[in-house]
């Protein structure tokens, strides 16, 4: 019989070996069964406490330092050497409720997976989880047939494929609402690219997806939201508290905001518009009024414009200061004091020009543009004829009021044809 408590030889075990096994007192009397392990929510994940379901059916949370694991011919049991009560706080994570059998995010593969088992290792400083098993081997081990299957596969010179994900590459998802308030930090998930994150959120159930989304900062949330499918966008905005939703929407291009609000319940959309800052909500309201087949319904009111006497240097300084979204600065526009469109300068032209040149010298003084009330086919003709990436939109008084980026046009066309993106 071997006994591990603070072991010198780094043996490792699976959680399934000890989960639900008997826990005995030192004199051999039965205490109960192991119902759960609680680990530190920090990077290390050190096991802090054991939850024992006692013979009487009560749950006792005890400090892990009082326990040792016995092994006898691959049968494991727990010995409680010292009974020390443990008070769980927010910084613990439950193996049973939040990891085993639950969904987690594989941060490397950017995929949702289900945990079949947890691999633990004994170090001199305690018991630590090193990886989760998400493959067949974990399922078979839980069913108690992994050895038999392996023996069988050996005949064909193969073995049960195992898939382990290292502990520090796991993004936890499962929230727990039991009496001990265990809250999971989504910080690992926040490191993912917005488009990967949006895929994962779409895949999740609505409750968890909304919780992950709500944990993002406004900027990131806006980026993630832009990558979503229409239906999911609406659900997420519905689930967010009004103030937070308004903050996130303010960070998005106004045309996207208008599209989302169009799909929301009227009351909810109105609440959000009121909560947003005055300027943004006015722009969004105007956009929402354009009929579906007009240029106005596609345009965004985000653009960058200067007067003709601005120097290249001053333009760049301004851009550095305001950091606009990249697709709004494909072209810089030149307007007069009243906002009337006078010309356009492409970003490449700006980049290769001397710092003291004024925009008046560089600009295309006869820029191609569309009116906000033009039909979409006018825009399409212009786009295809001049292969433009961005087209400025002016009002009937020639005032520059927005731009249309080719991405949005393509998206709209796809949607019209029912193509799923």
């Amino acid at each position: 019989m071997r006994s591990y408590s603070v072991s010198p030889v780094f043996p490792s075990i699976y959680f399934s070996y000890i989960y639900n096994t008997r826990v005995r007192l030192q004199d051999g009397r039965l205490m109960g069964r192991l119902a759960d392990l609680l680990a530190s929510n920090s990077e290390s994940g050190k096991v802090l406490a054991a939850v024992i379901k006692t013979k009487e059916g009560r749950l006792a949370t005890l400090d892990w330092s009082g326990f040792a694991i016995d092994e006898h011919e691959h049968k494991y049991s727990l010995v409680c050497r010292e009974r020390k009560d443990f008070t769980a706080d927010d910084s613990v994570i439950s193996f049973r409720r939040q990891i085993l059998d639950q969904q987690i995010v594989d941060i490397n593969d950017k995929k949702l997976v289900r945990v079949n088992d947890i691999r633990l290792v004994f170090l001199s400083s305690g018991l630590f989880p090193v990886a989760v098993d998400v493959g067949w081997s974990g399922i078979l081990r839980r069913l108690g047939v992994v050895e038999i299957t392996n023996d069988f596969l050996q005949i064909f010179n193969r073995s049960v494929p195992s898939r382990l994900i290292a502990w520090n590459n796991i993004g936890f998802l499962s929230q727990d609402s039991r009496n001990i308030k265990l809250s999971v930090s989504y910080s690992k998930l926040h490191t993912l690219h917005p488009s990967d994150l949006s895929d994962i959120i779409e895949e999740l159930d609505r409750k968890t997806g909304s919780a992950v989304f709500a944990s993002l900062d406004d900027e990131k949330a806006a980026d993630v939201l832009e990558e979503m499918e229409d239906g999911a966008k609406v659900s997420l905005v519905e689930d967010l508290p009004v103030e937070k939703a308004a903050d996130v929407l303010e960070k998005m291009p106004t045309d996207e905001v208008a599209d989302i609000l169009d799909d929301l319940e009227k009351e909810r959309a109105e609440e959000l518009l009121k909560e947003m800052d005055q300027a943004t909500s006015c722009e969004v309201r105007e956009l929402m009024e354009y009929p579906e087949d007009t240029v106005g319904s596609l345009m965004t009111t985000d653009f960058v414009a200067f007067t003709a006497d601005t120097t290249v240097d001053a333009v760049f300084e301004q851009l550095r200061k305001t950091k606009p979204e990249s697709d709004t600065i494909y072209s810089i526009y030149v307007t007069d004091q009243t906002g009337r469109l006078q010309g356009s300068v492409s970003l490449p032209t700006l980049a290769v020009s001397a710092p003291q040149t004024t925009l008046a010298e560089l600009m295309d003084a006869e820029p191609k543009f569309v009116y906000d009330t033009d039909k979409l086919n006018v825009l399409l003709k212009l786009l295809s004829k001049y292969s433009m990436l961005v087209v400025p939109v002016v009002s009937s008084a020639d005032i520059l009021i927005g731009t249309i980026v080719i991405d949005d046009v393509i998206y709209r066309l796809f949607r019209k044809q029912g193509v799923q993106l």
Binding site: I139, R142, D205, R206
Partner: protein, 418 residues
Amino acid sequence: MRGWLRGGRSTRNYLAMGATFLAVLGPGIITGSVDNDAGGITTYSVAGARYGFNLLWTLIPSFVVLFVVQEMNARMGVVTGKGLADLIRENFGVRITFCIFLGLLFADIGNTTTEFAGIAGAMQVFGVSKYVSVPAAAFLVWILVVKSTYKLAEKIFLVFSVSLLSYVLSALLAKPDWGQIGYSLIRPKLEFNYQYIEMVIGIIGTTIAPWMQFYMQSAVIEKGLKIENYGYTLLDVIVGCIATVTVAFFIIVACASTLHPHGIQIEEAKDAAMALEPLAGRFSSQLFAFGLLIASIFSAIILPLATAFYVCEAFGFEAGIDKSPKEAPEFYRLYSAIIIIAVLTVLIPGAPLITITLWTQVINGILLPVVLVCMIRLVNNKDIMGPYTSKGFSNAVGWITVVVLVGLSFILFIMGLV
């Protein structure tokens, strides 16, 4: 936000009452319609032919149980946003999950075989050989799954639901004796023998098939329904259950008023269609076959797909037709295997289809109480359901169903031994 047929939801004009109902209308009605698949039609036809109107009463408890069970599913789906497979795995661990899904997999391979047998039988009535109809149907199923979008799928669902009305017509053409129907409903002639009990379990089992619970819950999630609109969801569940039981009623009536008086015994649904011709006319026969055909094709589309999806969901493999076979190998292998096994079985000359149907019903019968117990425990768990746990009536019906089903199966088992 998730699902095997992913698509955008339209929530436009959500405020208008009628629109709200239409927007949430679906899961219950669609599930109710899928319920009357080839296996169901067969069971109801056999019951009608063998016992006349005498088994009509079983539809009343079936309705109550069906409603209670589906309401639980709808509520769990709306509150948790998780599928039943997810919830079972997360709360009961690998072993129970494995047993349930192994059972479900076998039962659904059997069910799918029955669907293709239904297609073969129905087309035989129209004079088409099964060696032509079954491969053609398999191809149609494949095309619909690979090429269809959610919008198209929903439309096909609705057409299908409407086509089930052909049974109502078929039954009316048979000029049933309404007085006698009413009498048998109020004062049914109960029997206590092996065949009768087997038939009763068969009817309940086919009306409340285990896989439907998984399907119902996913469909509710797919729709993205919210607890604020739960009233409409409830209405949808009721309408769906009424639709199921009504169609079952008319199938039994059609067979009971034509085949039963002449003592014609049948084994399959297509026998019923064929036997109807001299008794109720060619049109009635063809209507019956048409209903069988559509129901079989429809279920052959949904069943294998849904089964593969739930198994993968429970074990954490990627699943869904929006993924490529390379991204979700387990899902596609399972899906293909179910269809291929089913199609080949039907095409083998002299395949023991009736034995397969019988065994499928047995597995379903064992599985149903297990799934029900899991559901009742889940739906009463405050940590999962919050303030929306089940109330007395729902629990009582659930437990009574489990006890009665297990009891009847046990009696059947003992009688089989004697």
